[in-house]
């Protein structure tokens, strides 16, 4: 009979035990954050500098491309971005092509806008979800009001709102700040508005899983700014002077990451130990037989 070692026991461990470990690894630092210092990336620092360089009164498109499952990663940069835009005096036009996007962003931002004294229709407007992203963004190149049927998320007329003054086509935007959990996302705006020369500056705010391809777009100059994942969100919050949810969650993120690394390392050590023992057994049987 095969001899059972600690490695065999560990290889057969119940997965629910791993689930408990990952839960503990995340919950404890959420309740007792240490506040380890962040390493600031050039891309986030440059993005904040870029946003600060845009003159007050400029029109900004806020791409609310997100869904409820991405809220942990995208809410912090969305809130921080909207705060900074309002503080800089930018007029914010919020649109989105994910069914949840505008509804979620409205829920996230309304308390902050109210706290800062921003007025709906004067400082910002939420356009609401629209089906058929490519044709709408294409129509908006020539006629923004027509593309969005002159209605905001509440069904009120866009053309009567002061925030829309001077906004006739997509090229009137100084830059786009796009949350990007997939498609539609930054890539959609890049092909629709950046490639056609309407908007030169697109700030990409991807989730962690989209961060891989986002770096490629940033290096090539297709996007002008990059704030990636929860880590980017935490840096962004601190750089604008409003540490929030992302900053608070970074210790839990650290512990979660190291729990996964531990699983990878221990799992592999166990695998190789068992394989080595099996090979030794085979060798022993062979040499015994001969």
């Amino acid at each position: 009979m095969e001899k059972k070692t600690i490695w065999h026991t560990m290889a057969a461990v119940d997965v629910r035990f791993l689930y408990i470990i990952i839960v503990i690894a995340i919950v404890i630092p959420l309740l007792n954050p240490i506040g380890l210092p962040l390493v600031f990336l050039d891309e986030v620092i440059d993005t904040v500098a870029l946003m600060r360089s845009i003159p007050p009164g400029s029109l900004v498109y806020f791409g609310a491309e997100c869904a409820a499952e991405n809220s942990a990663e995208l809410r912090p940069p969305a809130v921080a971005g909207a705060r900074l835009m309002y503080e800089l005096g930018h007029r914010i036009i919020i649109g989105g092509f994910w069914p949840d996007g505008c509804i979620l962003v409205r829920q996230w931002l309304t308390p902050y806008f109210e706290e800062m004294g921003a007025v709906y229709g004067e400082d910002y407007v939420i356009l609401g979800y629209r089906a058929s992203v490519t044709s709408i963004l294409d129509t908006a190149r020539d006629n923004f009001i027509l593309a969005f049927s002159d209605r905001d998320i509440n069904g009120d007329r866009l053309s009567s709102m002061p925030v829309m003054a001077g906004l006739n086509k997509a090229s009137d935007f100084a830059y786009c700040f796009v949350l990007s959990p997939g498609g539609p996302g930054t890539g959609t705006y890049t092909t629709a508005w950046r490639a056609t020369g309407e908007v030169d500056l697109i700030i990409d705010v991807p989730t962690g899983s989209m961060y891989n391809s986002a770096g490629n777009n940033y290096q090539s100059g297709l996007t002008a700014g990059l704030i990636g994942g929860l880590n980017g969100g935490a840096q962004f919050e601190q750089l604008i002077g409003h540490p929030g949810e992302a900053t608070r969650s970074m210790d839990a993120q650290s512990m979660g990451h190291f729990a996964i690394i531990t699983f990878l390392v221990v799992g592999n050590i166990g695998y190789f130990q068992i394989r080595r023992m099996e090979e030794q057994e085979k060798e022993a049987i062979k040499s015994g037989g001969s």
């Binding site: 629910r16 990663e73 069914p99 609401g128 490639a195 962690g208 994942g229 990451h257």
Partner: protein
Amino acid sequence: MAGVNVPTAIVDALTPWSTTIGVICLIGVWSMLYKENPFYRACEHAYVGSAAAHTLVTTYANTIKPGIQMNMAQNGDYWEIIPILLGCLIYFQPIRQYNWISRFPMAFWVGYNAGYSLTLRVAMPLFTEARRTMLPFFVITDGRFDLMTSINNIVFTGVVVLVLVYFIFSRNVIQGKGVFLNRWARIAIMICFGAGFGNGVANRVSLLIGRFNYVLSDWLKLY
């Protein structure tokens, strides 16, 4: 058409329970981690039903209704009935006898998107990326040779070329001594996938953090 309103008193009474309901839903879904059970199945079905309805509601409220209000009622663009009817032809798809009719809107959308992609919109990013791949191999910074940047640029351009060669030319084309190119390309691809996995971990851990923030902060008010 004036809409219906639920009395404010009812909404005010329900709203404080929103987070508790959310936590019950979370427990229902996570109960799957222990084992398959009817509570999880119920939550799963509720999710599919509500998600399908939500997409329809947002499409109606923000695309269909404003379109009718502005373009037909306000501007008199009654020609828009034609594309509306064209879109509605897709509903023949489930009827086996007439499902060929659903090809018409599909053909229209495919044609539009093919034409859309064939213009500069897709080609421009390609050209930009190709141009930004050609980095200088000998970089002079402040009048001195910058070794690190030069090596990095060589690595960057080299990896792009290797991976492109790997994908465009099959193993049958590159043979003999050239096969080592494939090996290096595969190494670069695996490192890229590793980085992708690393970022995927960040994404997944964030999802959990989001849920625990909801339970600990929004529901239990522990911070």
